[in-house]
């Protein structure tokens, strides 16, 4: 898409203009966040077609309900909340026999996720091409359960705060924290299989 003359304009001003019916202003907001929302939707739904639907539904809903956006959070956070809800709805619909609930009780015992303890290469990114690396990161994240995945994606990929993540997912702050810890440890373990230093053990560093 062509670079718009609105590219440098402040977000809150764009929101105000969009609310007044300025289509270009809303399109500029879409342009700013569509990539992140698409990535988020793919991570949460783990399905390309669903992610495309979520992307579209998210911005249509955002447009429709723009007058409900109060400006007490960032516009992006508000859109993320819509996107997460749409994505989770997709997951629920896909598993009609087994509903996905973010409130499910989960085992937070950390002992099971620290089996693989090995130091990494100094610069593991250099061992893989950009595409290979993205493939590894995607595979690792896909293997997490939706409850962990959503928290990790919002906190560590989209860089939302703990409070914003809790709000977007309808979880308590302690629940976000315990799920984030679990997700980080699980991913660490999975990545270690790819990134560990060859022929080395944990004690070599000490």
């Amino acid at each position: 898409m062509a670079v718009s003359s609105l590219a440098g304009i402040d977000e809150s001003q764009l929101v105000a203009q969009a609310r007044d019916g300025d289509a270009d202003a809303f399109n500029e907001l879409v342009r700013r966040y569509e990539g992140k929302i698409f990535r988020l939707a793919q991570h949460v739904t783990q399905n390309r077609e669903d992610a495309e639907d979520v992307l579209q539904e998210t911005f249509l809903k955002a447009y429709e309900h723009l007058d409900q956006f109060k400006g007490d959070s960032k516009f992006y956070t508000w859109v993320v909340r819509i996107a997460v809800n749409q994505a989770l709805m997709k997951l629920r619909r896909r598993k009609t026999d087994k509903s996905v609930s973010l409130d499910e009780t989960i085992d937070t015992g950390e002992d099971t996720v620290t089996r693989e303890v090995a130091t990494w290469d100094e610069d593991p990114e250099e061992r893989f091409s950009r595409d290979e690396l993205n493939g590894i990161l995607d595979t690792a994240i896909q293997s997490l359960e939706p409850l962990y995945r959503s928290v990790f994606v919002l906190r560590d990929v989209e860089e939302l705060s703990t409070e914003e993540t809790a709000e977007a997912l309808g979880l308590s702050i302690p629940a976000v924290k315990s799920r984030l810890l679990r997700a980080r440890l699980q991913l660490r373990e999975k990545l270690t299989r790819f990134f560990k230093r060859k022929g080395d053990d944990a004690f070599a560093y000490m």
């Binding site: 898409m1 019916g21 289509a23 809303f26 399109n27 879409v30 569509e34 990539g35 992140k36 698409f38 990535r39 793919q42 495309e52 992307l55 579209q56 911005f59 249509l60 447009y63 429709e64 950390e110 002992d111 620290t114 303890v117 090995a118 130091t119 990494w120 593991p124 990114e125 690396l133 993205n134 990161l137 994240i141 990790f152 560590d156 990929v157 860089e159 924290k177 984030l180 810890l181 980080r184 440890l185 991913l187 660490r188 990545l191 270690t192 990134f195 944990a202 004690f203 560093y205 000490m206």
Partner: protein, 82 residues
Amino acid sequence: MLTCKDFLHELSEYLDENVDAELRSKLERHISECPNCWVIADTTRRTIRIYKGMDPYPIPAEVEGRLMRALEKKMADKKRTQ
């Protein structure tokens, strides 16, 4: 003395620099004495960093085209009803 289990429990908050000075020094003392926890802390920190650097997915042109057309239609419908 902190156990490894205590250390793991605080790991996220430690990496996010959300712990007070007293707890921080206890945690740092633990990793200076426990190679396993040191490795887990180091590789978890790098796990977080590597995901932070992930680029947003470029949206395929046809997907973006569909989104823009759907929005255009919605905007036109809205105008008509006003």
